[in-house]
């Protein structure tokens, strides 16, 4: 009897704690629940049609990798000049399948705000749809996405605090009298040979040497270490409405130029179907201008087959200062282009044809071995 009463008493305490009559335990549990809910609410309330300062993007990356922990992990890439951490998100569907890597970076030029906005949109689209959308599900079977939402973090912050039209990094030169390297002239490919300047005051300053900047070094080293598995290198810019293939440092074409143009043109067509926006496709030297030391050219030359620069909206009416009202349409059409490229890349390596070829060659080999074993 006493035992029963004792048990009932204990149960009573537990129940009342659950119901919150008692102070501490339930309170704490509630606080934990509330915090998680507000974090999730934070993500639910995150607007992909507004521009976000760097602090919010840092927070967003953490929240995204927590909410979608089954497929997303956040990784440290390196430090910026002003000692800020650079993080990329890895989106990967766990499986035994062999995987290849798609790399996407945004915001190598600070003032091109629509680019980081697109990187965030891209991540959001993949994660919100990977369970139900067969196209994205298929891509994730064999592709991992590595997304760097803001490459030039110092510069990006500078455009929020000081100069909206800043382009370069914020490295200091000439005893602090001159600032910033054009990170997209700093890669080790025909460095500073053309379309770049040795003068720190210029906006296309190529740096004090190839890969002189910590941001360039961080990206370079990482891509270099994974290059055997990277099939696609995509770098997002604005403005101009262009899909650029290698090269900028020469009018010569890469060995797979025709293919790159074909895939690019298909992407431009898919893009146009969304809102009628016209994009042009071509090599940088042909349809834009000569540049050296660009990340796209460097990526191609270390062997990454699909390497593109996307110059997003618009055509100069607003230029870098693209109104927030256009973020959604820009992202929707650019997403269509991106998926088109990814589909083509996927087809090339794991498509019906290539699977068929693999299967039939396996059959032939099998027959050969069994024949030989008969001898």
């Amino acid at each position: 009897m006493k035992l029963l009463l004792g048990t009932l008493y204990l149960l009573g305490i537990l129940v009342s704690e659950e119901l919150g009559y008692d102070g501490s335990l339930a309170q704490h549990r509630r606080e934990v629940v509330e915090e998680t809910v507000s974090q999730r609410r934070g993500l639910d309330a995150y607007s992909y049609t507004r521009y976000h300062p760097m602090e919010e993007i840092y927070q967003w990356m953490i929240q995204i990798s927590e909410k979608y922990a089954e497929v997303v992990t956040q990784h440290f890439l390196g430090m910026t000049y002003e000692t800020r951490p650079m993080y990329y998100l890895k989106i990967s569907q766990p499986s035994n399948n062999p995987k290849k890597i798609i790399w996407m970076d945004c915001g190598i030029h600070a003032r091109e705000w629509i680019a980081p906005a697109f990187c965030q949109w891209f991540v959001k689209e993949i994660l919100q749809n990977y369970k139900d959308d067969s196209r994205i599900k298929k891509l994730l079977r064999n592709l991992d996405f590595y997304v760097l939402p803001v490459l030039n973090i110092d510069g990006y912050i500078y455009t929020w605090t000081t100069d909206r039209l800043w382009r370069k990094s914020r490295s200091s030169h000439n005893n602090g009298t001159c600032f910033g390297t054009d990170l997209n002239r700093n890669f080790n490919v025909s460095w500073c040979s053309i379309g770049a300047s040795r003068n720190c005051q210029d906006i296309t300053f190529c740096g004090t040497g190839p890969v002189s900047e910590p941001e360039t070094k961080a990206v370079s080293s990482f891509i270099e270490s994974k290059k055997d598995n990277i099939v696609c290198f995509l770098t997002m810019h604005s403005f101009g409405q262009l899909i650029l293939t290698p090269y900028g440092y020469t009018k010569n074409k890469s060995s797979n130029h025709e293919e790159l143009i074909q895939v690019g043109q298909k992407a431009a067509n898919a893009l146009k179907e969304k809102h009628g926006t016209n994009y042009r496709v071509g090599s940088s030297a042909d349809i834009l201008y000569a540049t050296s030391g660009s990340s796209r050219d460097w990526a191609r030359d270390i062997g990454i087959p699909f390497s593109y620069t996307f110059e997003l909206r618009d055509n100069g009416t607003y230029g870098f200062v693209l109104p927030e009202a256009q973020i959604q349409a820009t992202c929707e059409e650019s997403m269509a282009a991106m998926l088109s490229v990814l589909d083509d890349v996927y087809e090339k390596y794991w498509g019906v044809d290539s699977a068929g070829k693999a299967a039939s060659s396996a059959v032939v080999l099998g027959l050969l071995f069994s024949f030989m074993s008969l001898l």
Binding site: L165, I203, R280
Partner: protein, 291 residues
Amino acid sequence: MPPRLQPPPASGTGRPRAAVLPLALLLSLALQGVAAAPAGAGEPEDSLRRRDPELPRGLLEQAARAALHFVNFRAGSPSSLRVLADVLEGRARVNPKKECQVDLVFTTDCYNPEEGEERLGKCSARVFFRNQKPRPAINVTCTRLIEKNKRQQEDYLLYKHMKQLKTPLDVVSIPDSHGHIDPSLRPIWDLAFLGGSYVMWEKTTQFLHYYMAQLSSVNQWKTNDDAIDFDYTVLLHEFSTQEIIPCRIHLVWYPGKPLKVKYHCQELQTPEEASGTEEGSAVAPTELNNF
């Protein structure tokens, strides 16, 4: 790289079977000069370059932009500014002094998309680039989209609106960092763009062109003597150097009258600074000295 055979655009595609006469015709057309198909296909620029390696890429677009800046300046109407839609056709010639003459036809669109109808205009122009010296010579005619009276009416409405604005000297930048232009401040932007058109016309060469990135400050806004006296600074984005060039512009505008404008730009690259003055004398001799 082996030269690709470029089919002249006007004649269409396909392999003619009994080709002798059309072929002769094509050959004679090809020999007459450098012609180009609609830009945007990527090909015409190739054909221009392949015929004459002296010609810079995107030359037709350069010429169209210069011509359009000039059209906007000459019209002096902030309510009917035009932007480039498409280059339809064009040809270019370079002389031994590396000066470029471009003849072209292009279409234009409304600058202010909120004005409802997408009314495509058409212009034909001859643009003469003086080998990187400023002030390309422009001869241009455009289809008239709005009657002169209607245009003046619209301008007058804008003018009245501007006169009612509180002096916008505390304006930090238009558009703001997020690309917003307050609708009440839009006329200021349009007027600034009109003045900027003069500057951008003068500065455009066969290699450099400009966009107006931001109105960064208003130094003076006077509306007392029956005209808008507007002193401001814009940031021009210079292509292909990517530089941002601050230009101080002072204009005086009254609807229907030619625009008076002075400017001074801070050049970073070259030691000489660009500046100029215009009293709208390019429009018509009878309209000088109206102020």
